[in-house]
Amino acid sequence: MRSLRLEPRTEGAQGAAVAASVIAVFATLIAGAVLFSLVGRSLSAVLYSFFLQPFASWNGIGEILLKAGPLLLIAQGLAVGYRAQVWNIGAEGQLIVGAIAASVLAIGFDGAASPLLLPAMMLAGGFAGAAWAGIAALLRTRFNANEILTTFMLSSIALQLLYYLVSGPLRDPMGMNFPQSILFGDAALFGPLIAGTRANTSLLIGLAAAIIAWAFMERSIQGFRLVVGGLSPGAARYAGFSEARSVWIGLLVGGACAGLAGVGEVAGPLGMLQRNLSPGYGFAAIMVAFLGGLHPIGIVFAALLMALIYVGGDFALVSAGLPNATVTIFQGLLLIFYLASSILISYRVVIGARSVEVSA
């Protein structure tokens, strides 16, 4: 293996980033094909219901958009931190806290018809999510506590807080003791995006976040700070940017986006606060952020792809009888292949002499 080696790239490689994604998708499809034949399903039937059937109806398209919304929004927020090497893995908890804050308003002002209710809920949710992530920022900047660990643990605490609130203070008094809140009034809900589907206007927040993130990254000095702070803390400090500011910005933005995504759920498809608030959006969004190469535009595509896997998985479950575990396996494989092939982004494969060896 002396002739094949890797060299670190010195400049960015857009082409390689795209190539990595394409390789990952194809490798996942091949692995998926093997998997489907193992569980005894016809490949064409599964691939049809997984990847094409969702596009055959407005309902399917609406479902993909509905699912992509929170993934897109959260992943954009997380990527801001990730680009600065701030590893927030607690978006799930920030989403929950955001949803709780918005629900408190929706429940407290039940019956209100004011058009200000929904904006107020968004504000409350965004702030609450940011505040929850802010705890981790404080712990990191004041106590030097690793944010990977604190954000994760804050997530578990948020989940218990949710369980407590829906089985007590925020429970629907007429709801037969079942742990869920009242159904929100119309003023507390996002309007439909495509009539007849569940996709709602909260998706626009995610798209706006993508545009803002892109503009910041490409044009503004603040984005430059985070990029610099991420790639080389030394250089960042030399340029006068403090690490603490990167940590605060990375976590607060990530938390606010996750909190807003939580509002999108309770004021969207759920229409109430309940125990099963998120099917792991906070964790799936981490995958989306990486799959999108931590790039605002890449994340848009990654979010849609991930949403397609979820929705296609449910279609395949209903139409082709595919066990729902295969969806989970699919997601894992896709990210694994992406991570493996993204070595192409940071390194160049060189065929020739010289020494550096990639050993395992």
Binding site: S42, S44, A45, L47, Y48, S49, L52, Q53, F55, A56, S57, N59, G60, E63, Y163, S167, G168, R171, M176, N177, F178, P179, Q180, L183, R198, E265, P269, L270, G271, M272, Q274, R275, N276, L277, S278, P279, Y310, V311, D314, F315, L317, V318, S319, G321, N324
Partner: protein, 359 residues
């Protein structure tokens, strides 16, 4: 968009999956959604037994589609929407938490029929089904009262919803009938399914002297298996679980959805379906006390069987006063029976139950 659609349809044809428009000759598609995996026993298993009975009874007039292990969250709606969009003429929603999404869908598809487990909201094309498990609970309580040595009965329970509270009350009243000093302790798991915690809950009850454990709406048999290992009696919900405790098993509170499902499917096929609140009890053949332990004396056994016979005949109601609540207030006066409407919304435990309803 058109191009994309055509592409998709072509691909569908290639895959040999294209479905023709709904024609009358085609079998009626019926969707079933379960909150947990089907397995060999428990809640989803009994619902699936109902589905199989429907398939057997109606043959090629129906086809069924199953989605198991669908959490009561935002994704459940997609699965049921997909079933409806796929042309399902009837959908069985197997968990309480599917209620609001199911109702929304029922409004969108006024020509499809929906039946929903254990809910309390109805519409013209949206019915509910529930079983009167408080009746079998009462019968099991009679037997438990005879068999307990410690006079402490333990219950591992899911959520404090009215159905569960009614079962705890029925069980306690039955046990007090045959053993007035009995007390009942409850561990709330706030889950339909948490095998580790339910076992730990059972062990904590045993540590507090309970010698009979009632596994109330835990969908897996781990509490029954554990009780066998510890050498104490157990009672299971939904399914008979004697296979998991061949030596010491008090009884199973079995439900049988087959008659109701067949009836509803028949009405759907006839075009006479109308959302109704079905509450099946002994009278309807919807519930049964199975594998009652042989450790009862013939006299004791007769007491249990007589109560069951009376419930079947409708001459005896377990919730007959005087019934006193935990706080000492008399809820049902002597000679009166609890109305169905009150029982469906019961939010108090009877005296003798030591644990409170959380919050």
């Amino acid at each position: 968009m058109m191009l994309l659609k055509r592409l998709v349809l072509t691909a569908g044809l290639l895959a040999g999956l294209a479905t023709a428009g709904p024609a009358l000759a085609q079998p009626a598609k019926i969707g079933f959604i379960y909150p947990g995996p089907v397995g060999d026993t428990g809640w989803a298993f009994e619902l699936d037994t109902g589905r199989k009975a429907v398939e057997e009874k109606f043959g090629d007039k129906v086809t069924t589609v199953v989605a198991e292990n669908i959490p009561e969250g935002p994704d459940a709606a997609r699965v049921m929407n997909q079933m409806a969009a796929d042309g399902a003429r009837m959908i069985m929603l197997g968990s309480f938490g599917y209620m609001n999404d199911g109702l929304k869908l029922a409004r969108q598809y006024p020509d499809s029929a929906f039946i929903h487990a254990s809910g309390y909201k109805l519409a013209d094309n949206f019915g509910t089904f529930l079983s009167r498990n408080y009746e079998t609970s009462y019968a099991a309580g009679l037997a438990a009262g005879y068999l307990t040595r410690s006079k402490v009965l333990g219950i591992v329970a899911s959520y404090p919803i009215p159905e569960v509270i009614g079962m705890i009350n029925g069980y306690t009243l039955g046990a007090q009938k045959t053993n007035p000093d009995v007390t009942v302790k409850v561990v709330w798991l706030n889950s339909w399914f948490d095998p580790n915690k339910s076992q730990e809950g059972a062990r904590s009850l045993v540590a507090q002297n309970a010698d009979i454990i009632f596994s109330l709406y835990q969908d897996t048999p781990e509490v029954v298996a554990l009780s066998e290992e510890l050498g104490i009696y157990s009672i299971s919900t939904s399914s008979d679980m004697k296979a998991y405790a061949p030596k010491k098993y008090l009884a199973g509170l079995k439900v049988d959805w087959r008659p109701h499902f067949i009836d509803q499917v028949q009405k759907m096929l006839d075009g006479t379906f109308k959302g109704e609140a079905y509450w099946g009890g002994y009278k309807d053949g919807a519930i049964e006390l199975t594998s009652l332990t042989p450790d009862l004396t013939p006299e004791q056994r007769k007491v249990v069987e007589d109560a069951i016979t009376a419930m079947k005949a409708g001459t005896f109601h377990p919730m007959t006063g005087p019934i006193t609540a935990q706080d000492g207030s008399v809820k049902i006066a002597a000679g009166e029976t609890m109305a169905d409407a009150d029982l469906l919304a019961v939010n108090w435990l009877v005296k003798g139950v030591e644990t409170k309803i959380p919050n």
